[in-house]
């Protein structure tokens, strides 16, 4: 063994440490540098595309101390996924230095997600004496833009959209000073050298610049005007959330009737004035992830003593987030404490991110534009989370999370696989080794813009993760644009994956299961089934390889196809006709006297443009329409959401009842339940109770079917997946039901239960099918 004796007579050892994971852009190198000073370690630290490489040379004990501190107390934002240590012959280092980045050829380093402004930076921007005072692009190694500004890896300023800003002396000094909070903070900037904001009116005239933008924006917002605000991952449309007229104008101009708006509040205190926030919810709100959290409104808020009903019409909940950029924070440093913060787009089109397109695409909505000259490279919507029983369930996984991988059970030497995802809430997944890189929220892709967004985002994420897919998977639906896009991507093999199988596999993967057969209770809207019908209430058994359909809800025709999904009253009529015959026809006439039921009846009878559906979402639609809660959907899932919200928090004993139904030969028949619901309605039972009973009946339907399958197969693991499980009451009740009966319940926390999760399932299924093909 090589030994070297230091002048003091002590022997030194040298180690090389390669650390992988999220270790760039999180203050890792200054942290290592400072640690090296503390422990008297000599050597170097280097950012490479393989990760952070440290050379550490010192007396064995000191190196040990250095290493244990490194492993156990890494910077808050870092995530170490792999750690390799090798002993090297001593090199006689005399100092500890930070070396310039090495582009390398292997690209293993992970690109960090965007990070909400940290407490230190937040202090500086309101400190009159600080040089960052009121500077909306202040950031440091602990916070700021990351994913949204990165063009290429490794993550270094020249590879970001900050490349065009040349650091001033002061910023450069901080950037190069290992002891400074801004040491190697790639996007660091100040009023002297960094990007700037300007305010334009709808004619493109500059109405304010960097000196008076803030007061101008306050005035605009206080005037009840709508401001298009260029944020971190794209434009937001914002207005004073407490100004009813402004909120209404925004709805009208955006063409968004009822879909809830998210709001941004000045601080936690403001949030709590209007909404109930538990510990976990508060923790997430103030976390560096800063997602939108769905919170329950206080009763008095709901009684319209405080906030306009138009923020989230008909709902007891409100999506809330806290300011996550200095620009947001500054906006809240004046008279306003709550702003609508909705994505800057027309319905169903991608978020606008470029200055050059803002006026054209948002000109019909916004009165003013607050924009800046830092380019957004990667579009990224806000993430959306609801806390259920203290656990965060993610409904939209985007800003703050992307491109962090979800870790899944998979080997090192496997090919990269692309799962292209679904159609309406699209995101895709690049599966590389054991890392599932879920893309940011892409959204609706049935438009040229949506398709382009999908492709551009794919090329960008492919570059940032160096994951070039060899195998591509997509949904089996013959009309999905996503499948068309997927087939254009060159690959060695393509796999068509059934929608609900993908939901099941996604749930298995995020819960770390291998290729193990479980029972899947997949409840969602509609997905293309292997028999050409539209599935969506499916009790499956399956693993990644394959699945079997064991039980499903009885089929009902959807008169008018997609028109029925937009208009739940049609589905309600179809249910009544299909399951209650003449009696149902009479009821339909009583409940929907103004509708042309004759035509619906003939369409259904003749099978005219009436595809068959077993979707749970459609059953929700039908019941929601029957109860008069929602007869027309103005956004996806509205009828179901409103029916779910109709349940009273303190449901009485009566509501613990379930309605009758039948299960025969693998089919669940809801006829008796519908009859009972109509009886209840006629008898004047409040909809709150009917809704609760309906939910409990669904759990009982699912429960009975799953137990029968379990009895026949011995499987005791049940996976709950599909968008319907975002219904809290349903989820909680089902989880209790299965736990109480000795089932292990698998459900979603890292990826959405809705179609935002199916890309992961598609990729995992393709992985196993590809393996099978290769042996």
């Amino acid at each position: 063994m090589t030994r070297q004796v230091q002048p003091g007579g002590k022997t030194v050892s040298r180690y090389r440490i390669v650390i992988k994971g999220v270790v760039q852009g999180v203050g890792f190198r200054p942290f290592v540098y400072n640690l090296a000073q503390v422990w008297g370690v000599k050597g170097s630290v280097l950012n490479s595309s393989r990760g952070v490489v440290i050379e550490a040379e010192a007396e064995e004990n000191n190196v040990a101390g250095f290493l244990s501190e490194l492993k156990n107390n890494p910077p808050q934002l870092s995530r170490i996924s792999d750690y390799q240590l090798s002993k090297m012959p001593p090199a006689g280092y005399t100092s500890f230095v930070i070396l310039a980045s090495d582009p390398g050829d292997e690209k293993e380093a992970l690109v960090p997600p965007d990070v909400a402004i940290c407490a230190d930076c937040a202090k500086e921007i309101i400190d009159r004496k600080d040089r960052h005072y009121q500077y909306p692009f202040t950031n440091c190694t602990n916070c700021g833009p990351r994913f949204t500004i990165i063009n290429e890896i490794p993550y270094d300023r020249p590879k970001t959209s900050m490349a065009s800003f040349c650091m001033c002396d002061q910023c450069a000094r901080e950037y190069h000073d290992p002891a400074d909070r801004r040491f190697h903070a790639q996007p660091t900037a100040c009023p002297v050298c960094g990007p700037h904001v300007e305010v334009l009116d709808s004619a493109g005239r500059n109405v304010a610049g960097k000196e008076n933008w803030l007061e101008t924006c306050w005035n605009i917002l206080q005037d009840g005007k709508i401001l298009a605000l260029k944020g971190l991952g794209g434009y937001h449309l914002t207005c004073d959330a407490k100004n009813k007229e402004a909120v209404k104008a925004l709805r009208r101009r955006k063409g968004r009737d009822a879909k809830p708006f998210a709001v941004m509040c000045r601080d936690l205190e403001t949030v709590q004035k209007y909404c109930v926030a538990g510990e976990k919810e508060k923790e997430l709100l103030i976390s560096p992830l800063a997602p939108i959290i769905i919170l329950r409104k206080h009763l008095q808020t709901r009684l319209n003593e405080g906030l306009p009903e138009e923020l989230a019409p008909g709902l007891k909940t409100l999506g809330v987030m806290l300011p996550y950029t200095p620009l947001h924070l500054l906006l809240f440093s004046g008279p306003l404490d709550m702003l609508v913060m909705t994505s800057g787009n027309y319905s169903n089109l991608p978020l606008v991110k470029d200055n050059s397109r803002a006026a054209g695409e948002l000109g019909g909505i916004a009165d003013y534009f607050l924009q800046h000259n830092r380019e957004i490279v990667n579009r990224c919507d806000d993430s959306l989370i609801q806390v259920v029983d203290g656990e965060p369930h993610i409904y939209r996984r985007s800003r703050g999370y992307v491109p962090h991988p979800v870790l899944v059970p998979r080997g090192e030497d496997e090919p990269v696989i692309l799962g292209i995802g679904g159609e309406m809430k699209n995101n895709f997944c690049l599966l590389k080794k054991n890392q599932a890189f879920m893309s940011q929220y892409i959204g609706e892709i049935d438009s040229l813009e949506g398709e382009e967004n999908l492709l551009t985002s794919f090329f960008n994420l492919r570059k940032l993760t160096d994951a070039i897919p060899e195998v591509v998977a997509y949904d089996a639906h013959p009309g999905y644009a996503s499948a068309r896009v997927a087939r254009q991507i060159p690959a060695r093999a393509y796999f068509e994956v059934q929608h609900h199988h993908a939901h099941l596999a996604s749930c298995l993967a995020e819960n770390g299961l291998g290729n193990e057969e479980v029972i899947g209770a997949i409840l969602d809207g509609t997905g293309y089934g292997t028999d050409g019908n539209l599935w969506g209430f499916e009790i499956l058994t399956g693993n990644y390889d394959d699945f079997q359909r064991r039980f499903h809800l009885a089929y009902v025709p959807l008169p008018g196809g997609e028109a029925a999904i937009r208009q739940p009253w049609r589905t309600a009529v179809a249910y009544l006709l299909a399951f209650l015959g003449e009696e149902g026809k009479r009821s339909a006439g009583l409940i929907f006297p103004e509708k042309n039921l004759d035509v619906i009846e003939r369409m259904v009878a003749g099978g005219f443009n009436s595809p068959l559906s077993s979707g749970c979402g459609r059953l929700f639609d039908a019941v929601s329409a029957l109860l008069g809660i929602c007869r027309e959907n103005t956004y996806e899932g509205q009828a179901a959401v409103e029916l779910g919200e109709a349940i009273q928090e303190t449901a009485g004993n009566d509501d613990m009842q379930t309605y009758p139904y039948e299960t025969r030969e693998g089919i669940i028949w809801p006829g008796q339940m519908l009859a009972a619901i109509i009886d209840d309605k006629m008898a004047g039972v409040p909809v709150q109770s009917i809704s609760a009973r309906f939910h409990r009946t669904l759990v009982s339907m699912v429960g009975e079917a799953v137990e029968r399958v379990s009895g026949a197969t011995g499987i005791k693991k049940v996976a709950l997946s599909g968008g319907t499980w975002q219904n809290q009451y349903l989820f909680r009740t089902a989880k209790q039901y299965f736990s109480a009966r000795g089932f292990e319940v698998l459900y979603h926390r890292q990826v959405p239960a809705n179609d935002g999760g199916i890309a992961l399932g598609q990729a995992m299924i393709a992985h196993w099918r590809w393996r099978k093909r290769c042996v």
Binding site: G255, Y346, S347, N348, L349, E361, G364, G422, E423, M424, K425, D446, S447, L448, E449, G450, E451, H477, P478, G479, Y480, A481, H499, D524, G525, T526, G527, Y528, L534, G536, L558, P559, G560, G561, E562, A563, A564, I565, N596, D598, V599, R602, M603, G606, F608, N609, P611, S613, G617, E636, G723, N754, D755
Partner: protein, 339 residues
């Protein structure tokens, strides 16, 4: 049900080439389709032709129902073939017509169909100069099938072709979309909709002849039959390699068609038309062509619906909300994609 009387219906023996066949020809076909070439009753119609290029087209018509608001199978059989010639840049001259009649088909209906064909031919200035009639047993055909073949001269100077399409060209239609398809569908499906929807079935050759004479910038025409505007535009786009950009707000659709298609969950862009055609014209002539159609031909709903852009053979629809949706060919019934 009233007992059918043999004298009122077509019998198998009407097709056996004997006396009854002769009677059928004399009483119906020759009476209505009267012209010198047909009247000669030779094995083949013989006519002389001028030098130039000719066009020929054939189609079989099996529409159910045979009578519908705005037309019947006979009118359709004449218009269908004439229009195929017309949009190819030809002036149709002669048609042949071949009938397959189901035993038991009422003479009264047959007469209506033949009269309607004769009338349509008169309007379009064409003659039926040869024909054939067969009668098949009950159930071997459905009422009546008609096959027409048409010939015509290509108009000198008309220069139509996919290769002429280029970015900047304008796309026009001569009127409201979807009427024929919807009229047929409502008649057939008995959906209980007492509709006022009337088929747009009409011969186009006189109009196309006139516009081709006047507007040398016309580069392509297409009758918007099966698959409607969307499918036909996509076919043209794929054959020519350019993109179509259609403007949703500019597409002419009658309110009643809009209302009923909404109720039924259908898209009028995929419904067949029988008197509507698409014109691709050089930008500089688009305005005048539109004015000419609207004023001189009373095609008041003729519209410029979009333009041609460089691309890859796609059809995009700019929607009212500002986005663009890709239109593909009709592939069976559309299935909902909303999860």
């Amino acid at each position: 049900m009233a007992e059918e009387k043999d004298k009122d219906i077509v019998l198998l023996s009407h097709g056996d080439g004997g006396l009854l066949t002769h009677q059928l020809l004399q009483d119906f076909f020759l009476r209505y389709f009267k012209n010198d070439l047909l009247d000669s009753l030779t094995d083949a119609a013989v006519f002389s032709s001028e030098p130039g290029r000719m066009a020929i087209s054939t189609d079989a018509f099996v529409v159910d129902p045979v009578f519908f608001p705005g037309g019947d199978i006979g009118k359709l059989a004449v218009c269908g073939t004439i229009n195929d010639l017309a949009v190819s840049g030809a002036q149709p001259l002669y048609l042949t017509a071949s009938f397959v009649i189901e035993e038991g088909f009422p003479f009264a209906d047959l007469e209506k169909i033949i009269a309607s064909m004769a009338n349509t031919c008169r309007v379009a200035g064409v003659q039926i100069i040869a024909g054939d009639t067969k009668v098949v047993g009950r159930g071997q055909a459905d009422k009546v099938y008609i096959t027409t073949t048409g010939v015509g001269y290509l108009l000198p100077g008309a220069n139509l072709g996919y290769q002429r399409l280029e970015p900047g060209d304008k796309v026009l239609v001569n009127g409201c979309l979807g009427n024929h398809g919807l009229a047929i569908l409502l008649q057939r499906e008995a959906l209980g909709l007492d509709s006022q929807i009337i088929s747009d079935c009409a011969p186009l050759s006189i109009m196309t002849t006139e516009i081709l004479k006047r507007f040398k910038g016309i580069k392509l025409m297409r009758d918007l039959t099966r698959g409607g505007l969307a499918t036909n535009a996509k076919e043209i786009a794929m054959s020519s390699g350019v993109d179509f950009w259609l403007d949703e707000a500019a597409l002419p659709v009658e309110d009643s068609v809009k209302g009923i298609t909404e109720l039924l969950g259908l898209d009028p862009l995929y419904l067949a038309n029988e008197g509507k055609f698409l014109i691709v014209v050089a930008a500089e002539e688009a305005g005048e062509l539109l004015r000419y159609l609207r004023e001189d031909w009373s095609a008041e709903y003729a519209c410029q619906i979009g333009d041609i852009q460089a691309g890859k053979g796609n059809v995009y629809l700019r929607t009212a909300l500002g986005g663009a949706r890709q239109l593909n060919m009709m592939a069976g019934a559309p299935l909902p994609r909303i999860c």
